[in-house]
Symmetry: C2
Subunit: 196 residues, 2 copies
Amino acid sequence: MKVTKEKMAEHREKIIASAAKRFRERGFEGIGVAELMKEAGLTHGAFYGHFASKEELVELAMERAFRDSNAKWEKVIAEAEGDPLQALGEFYLSLRHWKNAGTGCIFPSLGGEITRQPTRVQNAVTEGLQRFLGLLGGAIRGQTEETRRRKAIAAYASMVGGMVLARSTKDPALSAEILEAVSEALPGIAASAPTP
Amino acid sequence: MKVTKEKMAEHREKIIASAAKRFRERGFEGIGVAELMKEAGLTHGAFYGHFASKEELVELAMERAFRDSNAKWEKVIAEAEGDPLQALGEFYLSLRHWKNAGTGCIFPSLGGEITRQPTRVQNAVTEGLQRFLGLLGGAIRGQTEETRRRKAIAAYASMVGGMVLARSTKDPALSAEILEAVSEALPGIAASAPTP
DNA sequence: ATTATCTATAGATCTATAGATAATGC
DNA sequence: ATTATCTATAGATCTATAGATAATGC
């Protein structure tokens, strides 16, 4: 039953990728080790040859999710024809993102649960968030570095909260209304004068 | 072991109050029926004399949490000396709220989990959210009803997302920076022109 | 007599581990 | 010989239920 080194590395990647997706879809406790391993075509006993614990997988899955999201954001910024913030807002506050939690931003899916995770997971999230704010700050106009960072934080908070609210109801009209209203408010955040 | 009707009603209230608090602190799956009953001074078997299922308690706890929050918001609006939106923003984006998830807004605590709850729970949340937006819309300046509602949605999304991000890190400086940046951006949202 | 609560337990999870199996790679 | 995976299971949950107990309230 032993496999080649390459196969084993593939298995590991597959487990992390499944976890990154399923955790965002169902929460950290919404899928167990056994089902994740089944998705990778393995038995759950084999899990502990790859990872020391489920907690370790949670950490790796968060890093993976951040890397994937980062790549998407960079692409949206690079391909934006007009204002990059507006392009990011449309990308984030889209029906596509609303429907696909598994491939989307971790905060609307797992925001509440992250607070209850062990320190190592929270540290991975903090690093990812800081990198993200740097990326977003670069896409926002502002006189000083500090202004751009503040605007990035405010804009990102709007987007995250907008998705949380839009996903919390099954009323499609209300969801659409929320996504639209938050989208429209983004320029106001980007244009607001920095209060010293 | 039978108790008076009044005592039983008290027990019921105590269970719902504990649930409303603990669910916000630990998530819906973070506390079980047995521990909730222990907090009310009862055994877990007695639970099913009060509620048909844990799901029913989740629904009742959400209604309770919304009622409590609503009362707090009304108080803040009534007692606001300047701009009520600014007062609400300071109240919501405070260190006090950051530290006390159990008595705070349900969305930063349970936002991600609500999507995965059964319809009856989501319906309770949708009703609560709509009432909330009505309350907030009344505290925001704007020419038309529609404008006020849009601004209310955008402002609330900012606050919710700000708290999600602030709670997702253990770095106190980053948390404080996020709460401050989102607070400062609120006037920009309230002042933004409605895009037709 | 009725019923709110308690004791005890069924049945279904879940994480993690121990030892067996079989294929890689020296 | 080493080791990635598998089988089987320990031990700890959790929701829900059945039947016993004892106090209320007719």
